[in-house]
């Protein structure tokens, strides 16, 4: 509203001076005076009658959408006339800057357009503010001093929708044949213990077993680490593990290919997803907090998706998920489950630990 008033009050100044500079502008004006009379100056005169007729029509209607519809028509009509008169006289290179087409308007029309567009602008600003209030996290809003609860199902739905679009884009980008870059041993960087909660007590390792469920045979299979390490061929790779937080580490991993396990114990035919779970995971206060991720079978079959048993040439330590961890370099680190205890093949997308905490589910990188 304030803007609108400002616009109106400034108008009379604009019309006589056509600028802001003091002395210089006067000089330019006196120069421009005779040029105005020059017939070669490209000035299209817009019929004030016609513009006013439109203006009145819009005024009578008071419909914003209608007035938007009108603008391009009059503008294009005006500019096309002007461009024509310029281009006939001044052929320019393709890259050359072309003069701005000038048209003559009744001051009232300019004022009307200004008022209308500034109102639109104000409405847009209000809409943007409302949108920000709607989308900002509750914590941020509270910190700004707003005590009201602005959380809504709509907000979650909308943000998750945007996240799904990004996941779909990631899925479209994914190619099963595309290998991730591999590095040399000299490029290896340190990898911290990134257990989100407490690091489990190594006691679990001695009784560790991997359970397979959702197999074509209908059986539930339990495999020991020795069995896994001796039955399958060992693959090595030096790849980058990228965390959702932004840090990354290049590490040397070895283990069996997930694809080899899938061949040895085929999943049921309708399975499209894998649920990879670690029941030894703990929360920050040391209580059991099962960690589980969803993984699409296509990614599980990727040749660089390993069930790793070794890190930098040594058997995995507790920090890095002894005795068996998922290493899926085409996904964010949070899908690389440590100390896997169970693998289940399912038809529908299974739950995902971090997706339930507001992160993406696909996490393809």
């Amino acid at each position: 509203m304030n803007n609108e008033e400002k616009g109106d009050s400034l108008q009379p100044e604009d019309i006589p001076s056509t600028g802001i500079g003091p002395e210089q502008e006067m000089a330019e004006l006196s120069e421009a005076g005779p040029e105005d009379a020059n017939p070669s100056v490209p000035i299209a005169i817009e019929n004030p009658e016609a513009v006013e007729a439109i203006e009145q029509q819009v005024d009578a209607d008071r419909s914003p959408s209608l007035s938007v519809d009108h603008e391009p028509r009059t503008d294009e009509a005006a500019s096309s006339v002007a461009v024509e008169s310029v281009s006939v006289k001044k052929p320019q290179g393709f890259l050359g800057e072309q003069p701005l087409p000038a048209i003559e308007l009744a001051p009232r029309v300019l004022r009307y357009r200004t008022r209308r567009d500034v109102l639109f602008f104000g409405a847009g600003a209000v809409a943007a503010l409302a949108g920000a209030g709607f989308l900002l996290p509750q914590n941020t809003i509270s910190r700004m001093g707003v005590r009201r609860n602005m959380n809504s199902l709509g907000k979650e739905w909308f943000l998750n929708k945007a996240l799904r679009i990004d996941d779909d884009v990631a899925e479209a980008l994914y190619s099963g044949n595309r290998r991730v870059p591999t590095y040399t041993k000299s490029q290896i960087t340190p990898l911290k213990n990134n257990y989100n909660g407490a690091t489990p007590d190594p006691g679990y390792i001695s009784g560790w077993n991997l359970t397979l469920d959702g197999l074509a045979s209908g059986l539930s299979i339990s495999l020991g680490i020795r069995n896994l390490m001796t039955r399958f061929s060992v693959h090595e790779q030096i790849t980058r593990l990228v965390c959702v937080e932004g840090w990354s580490a290049i590490a040397w991993w070895s283990g069996l290919r997930f694809d080899d396990l899938l061949r040895a114990y085929p999943p049921m035919s309708q399975a499209k997803w894998v649920r990879v779970e670690s029941s030894v995971n703990l929360d920050a206060s040391g209580n059991p907090d099962s960690y589980f991720v969803s993984l699409d079978l296509v990614t599980a079959r990727h040749p660089q998706t390993l069930l790793a048993t070794h890190f930098n040439g040594q058997p995995l330590t507790v920090d890095h998920g002894a005795p068996l961890r998922l290493l899926v370099p085409v996904k964010l680190g949070l899908k690389n489950v440590k100390a896997i205890t169970k693998i289940t093949y399912v038809a529908e997308e299974p739950r995902d630990y971090w997706a339930e905490r507001g992160y993406s589910r696909y996490d393809g990188i």
Binding site: Q98, A106, D117, E245
Partner: protein, 278 residues
Amino acid sequence: MSHSTPPDNEPNSTSTLPEQPGVLVAKKHHLLVRWSHWLNVPILLGLILSGISIYWASPVYQHNPDPNTGNFDVAADIGIWICARVPGLHHYSSPPDWIYNHTSLGPGMLGVALRLHWLCAYLFMLNGMVYVAGLVMGGGWRSLLPRRTDLFEALRMLRYYLGIPFAKLGRRKWLHPRFNTKYNALQRAAYFSVPVAGFLSVATGWAIHKPMQLHWLAALFGGYNAARVWHFWLMWVFILFVVPHVILVFADGWDTLRSMIVGWSTKVERAEVIANEQ
């Protein structure tokens, strides 16, 4: 003046000049350019606020943990420094979070910040396409292209800006250099760089968002970690552009601001100068 418009029933034709003095206006910015220009404000704000929240989770600039506080984040150090020295902030509840509390959605909200960042990033890319479409449709792109004379002209503009305070002090006349183009060389450099920075932000954003599928893109920027640094500093290009941009628009006056809202400028003499000099 508007009250003296002729009544509608008075005969008038296209060939006669309007009875009241008309205003000469030039169409400065295409509708799509104007829309995308203003949409950039909330989108970039959303990208920066969420981006700094994402930065918090794993700061690009960090050092070995401080033996006393365990702090490793340079931005947290700056917050501690500010709270220790700025009067009134001595009792700030969490000095290491001061920067994040004032420049981002807040610390410890990576998940929600990522979701907002992706949302704004897709809107930013769409908006960038609208902007380019507006530049092409309105022909405005020609005014943004760098020229051979730009270096010299930019120095002239710099000299002008640097001379303003001295001229004011000495109450001397200090004339704005004249150009027969839509923008002066400094403006052109700025308005050309910003879309380039936008493009690079999107490219580095994709490079760090999909460093495996698009590893060639990350490699173009020197790898994953380097692309993160690029992405961080490209944010500063926008910030460093916006500050003088806003100041100079207000200094230049209502006509310039209006031309980005309404599209028309009444500073027409420049357009005429182009037409007449060539």
